[in-house]
């Protein structure tokens, strides 16, 4: 999992670099600093379990096991990307791997995740549905409507809130009086827990317990992971709204450094860890280069695939 953390961290590093260089369209949102949540939760998911995420979803998709190159190619807008370049950073979908989608709409995927859980329940499958979202999403009505439905129908859906204390440039205090997202679960008697999202072992265990409960049909579950955005809201955000002290403090909380220290204390030898990091570095580097070399979509195909049937696709204007 140390390796998985690095894959995400380095992947996001390349996104940052190439976005700044103008090679990546749009305005990607990095998950740098929040990797432990993605890795700790997805460690318990099978391919059949479905995952939904938000605008800050690169890490979740990689942690679920999607291909580095195809994911990066999508963020570059290439034909070899997960969505053939149609989706982009905020709309990653990898159906064959159970990644049913990121969304650019805050709280936009919560109800869809509940719907996927409903489908599993209806078909009598034991798969679960997981959705990642930010603390800002709790201001949206869809969050509360979905909690009510999920509790009422006992849906096997895991709501994972990455509470990083900010929504864009505005801190949590200005968004709500509610400090802990987990407190929204109480009225519905939804199982919930607030944990340190920067500590991988903690996330791993909490997610395991939550998912066991879901597989027993005792869902839903709301897992609040306290974490920190090490980068800006999106690539290019100068973060004037955050003090130097705050940013240094955040860096000190780096989940990767932390796991490294823990592993070393457990007797793992540092050189081995560094070589794991190095391996990740090479993998990501190579995937990124392959993605950058991949062909761009053919403009002639721009109107294809709005509908399945060509007759419908022929709609003019």
């Amino acid at each position: 999992m140390y390796h998985a953390l690095w894959r995400i961290r380095l992947f996001e590093g390349h996104v940052q670099r190439l976005a700044a260089a103008g090679e990546i369209p749009g305005f990607p949102h990095l998950s740098t600093g929040q990797e432990a949540v993605a890795v700790g939760v997805c460690a318990h998911l099978s391919r059949e379990d479905v995952l939904f995420t938000s605008h800050r979803g690169h890490g979740h998709v990689l942690a679920k096991g999607s291909d580095l190159e195809a994911t990066f190619a999508e963020i570059l807008g290439r034909e070899s990307g997960l969505c053939r370049g149609r989706g982009g950073s905020m709309h990653l979908v990898d159906g064959s791997n159970g990644v049913l989608g990121a969304t650019g709409v805050v709280a936009g995927n919560l109800a869809l995740a509940a719907g996927a859980a409903w489908a599993a329940q209806a078909k009598g499958e034991r798969n679960i549905s997981v959705v990642f979202f930010g603390d800002g999403a709790t201001g949206a009505g869809a969050f509360h409507e979905t909690l009510n439905l999920a509790a009422l129908w006992r849906l096997p859906v895991l709501f994972v809130c990455e509470n990083n204390g900010y929504a864009e440039f505005t801190s949590r205090e200005e968004h709500s009086n509610v400090n802990h997202v987990s407190s929204f679960a109480a009225p519905y008697a939804i199982s919930t827990k607030t944990i340190d999202g920067n500590d991988l072992p903690t996330v791993y265990e909490a997610a395991r317990d939550a998912i066991d409960l879901l597989r027993r049909g005792e869902g839903p579950y709301l897992l609040e992971c306290m974490t920190f955005r090490m980068a800006g809201h999106y690539v290019g955000d100068a973060q004037q709204y955050r003090s130097k002290e705050e940013l240094t403090a955040v860096r000190a909380k780096c989940p990767i450094e932390r796991l490294k220290r823990q592993l070393i204390e457990l007797g793992v030898n540092e050189a081995d860890l560094d070589s794991i990091g190095l391996r990740a570095r090479q993998e990501v580097q190579q995937a990124v280069e392959r993605a950058r070399a991949a062909p761009r979509p053919d403009p002639a195909t721009v109107l294809d695939g709005v509908y399945r049937s060509p007759s419908l696709n022929a709609i003019p204007g």
């Binding site: 939904f52 053939r84 869809l112 009510n148 709005v306 419908l312």
Partner: protein, 326 residues
Amino acid sequence: MEHTFIEILRRALDEELARDGSVYLLGEDVAAGGAFGVTRGLAQKHGDQRVRNTPISEAAITGLATGAALCGLKPVLEIMFIDFATLSMDCLVNQTAKYRYMSGGQLAVPLVVRTQAGAAGGAAAQHSQSLEAWFIHVPGLVVVAPSSPAEAYGLLKSSIRLGEPVLFIEHKRLYTMKEALADAELPPIGKARVVRPGGDVTLIAYSAMVKDALHAAEQLATGGISVEVIDLRTLLPLDMATIAASVARTHRVLIAHEAVRNGGVGAEIAARIGTELFDELDAPVTRVGCPFAPIPFAPELEHALLPGSGAIVRGVHELLGLESPE
């Protein structure tokens, strides 16, 4: 034997539930029969897992149905009034409609959203709207608006089997309309039909307005004016071929819908006819639609505002350069 629009919708849903185990109904009060009784008895027959009540959460149930559709169910969601589809717009427009395209073809959303629209009997400003025009502007959606019970039966089944997100609009004024069920095969989505052949004027309508159109055509026939009435059936996609064939014979067109005229579906149809059939037209395309105001409560006001067969007759006379009787 004749059935009401409501009975026939119920029968179509009943048969699809029986035919395909992946069809599920959900919505507010649907297990209790629904606000208009369309789903009465279906929960008892197919079980409360197949026909499920939801809380009053239009946004979430639209998302729920969309997510379930991504995972192999074929949900049929009821939004009680199209006026409340305003609460579903984010999901329908930003997610449901775009999923197939945004995912590069990996995923589809086989979802039917049944909703009920139109003005009648003092339902007033927030329970009477006709908002279909918004949806024909959204790539990825299909919009169906049946004009009679028999039409609704076939079109609802075709919609459920289409495999695309379909907005299925039922007009409250048609709910009590009775008709016998002709056992034809299911109508294809995207094909209009000529309901009444005629040679002088092409009269294009859909949903409840088809009734008014036929009534107007009757009246006009007594005056020796032969009107061809086209029922669009689907508003997205639009069947221009059927329209063109008719206009090539009549050279005169009137488009009628209950929705507000400004920015309505009729605008798109008129614009396309004006461009694609420019040389065929002997007179300006005329549109009949609701004048620019919310639907008022008082019966006199509601009646004064809503377009009907009278407005159509006047429009046709204008179109032919004749003095209108009244």
